[in-house]
Symmetry: C2
Subunit: 193 residues, 2 copies
């Protein structure tokens, strides 16, 4: 297939912005798949910061990173992602090359624990500020669980308000797949168009 899945499109776009030695954020660690992907992409001289409020998620991610021998370049925070600016060291503020969000609930976890617009939107604001010009944010959105459609709408409303002079955005949906995730990509411009 030429047209990618939402998850592989998300990685394709992040990979174009993120290079060895860079700093990246996984805003929703979950089982650590994206954290591992980011850790591989930034290489031995790079840094990854991960956020999740569930100890279970962080433990799974830690195991995954240790199995790949990549835990040394990753710092995990048991914190809500809306607090990411407070947690990140000052020297990476405004220097983050990539931020990944994968919203909804923890797969194989408690489906009642979901990301919510009240914290998701402030987390997106924080991420947009932390990005370096040329940096990329990917947000995978789900509508198949209770609260999912409302969260997706809140995220897209947020994206619509971003200044087109400072951010390029793209929202990718799969119209003929019921409850397939969609992807919002946000790139911080290097200069005004």
């Amino acid at each position: 297939m030429i047209l990618p899945s939402i998850l592989s499109l998300s990685k394709q776009l992040i990979r174009q912005a993120l290079h060895p030695g860079d700093a990246a954020v996984d805003a929703t660690v979950g089982n650590g798949h994206d954290t591992l992907f980011l850790a591989e992409t930034v290489g031995a001289s790079g840094l990854v910061f991960g956020f999740d409020i569930q100890a279970e998620a962080l433990q799974a991610a830690r195991c995954r990173l240790e199995a790949a021998n990549l835990e040394g370049r990753v710092t995990l925070f048991k914190e809500s992602h809306h607090r990411m600016a407070d947690c990140l060291p000052a020297e990476v503020h405004g220097r983050i090359k990539a931020v990944m969000f994968n919203l909804g609930y923890l797969p194989h976890g408690d489906h009642a624990i979901i990301t919510r617009p009240e914290t998701t939107v402030p987390a997106l604001d924080a991420a947009a500020r932390l990005l370096v010009p040329g940096g990329m944010m990917s947000v995978v959105l789900y509508t198949g669980h209770p609260g999912g459609p409302e969260e997706s709408e809140a995220v897209i409303r947020w994206a619509k308000k971003l200044s087109p002079h400072r951010f390029q955005t793209m929202w990718v949906q799969l119209p003929n797949r019921n409850h397939a995730p969609s992807l919002l990509a946000v790139e911080k411009r290097r200069e005004a168009p």
Copy 2:
């Protein structure tokens, strides 16, 4: 920028499906920009078929193709695109690798002459049938002119009904650009997923 414009994303996707020696359709010739792009991409052994109802458009496209010395591989029809199946030679039915639609009105032409859902949707149906498995269709949609939002909605409603077993689809919007075009891409599957 990493995130492409709608028009360059459309060409990127078509280029991945279309190769020298292939057959392609420009369903909305207009000033012939896409016709020229398709003619370049299919090479000397390929074929391009173009449709437009406006003589003015076909004349502009013909000039453009002649200037590039590519008119020999292009057949232009002064016909509505919903009649494309009747116009194409039988030997290319089911063998078309790429179809491009760029809806709305002719730039620098009469803005009252617009594509309309009553003919656009049958044209999309025809194009979906003419495509070879592995072939790609791109549809650039505009909402900034009267009738544009209704046409976009009709096209997306059409896409939602496509069988996910036979077609992979992707709808790309730019949330923070007012009246920016959006892109619907439709890929015919080689085999069921």
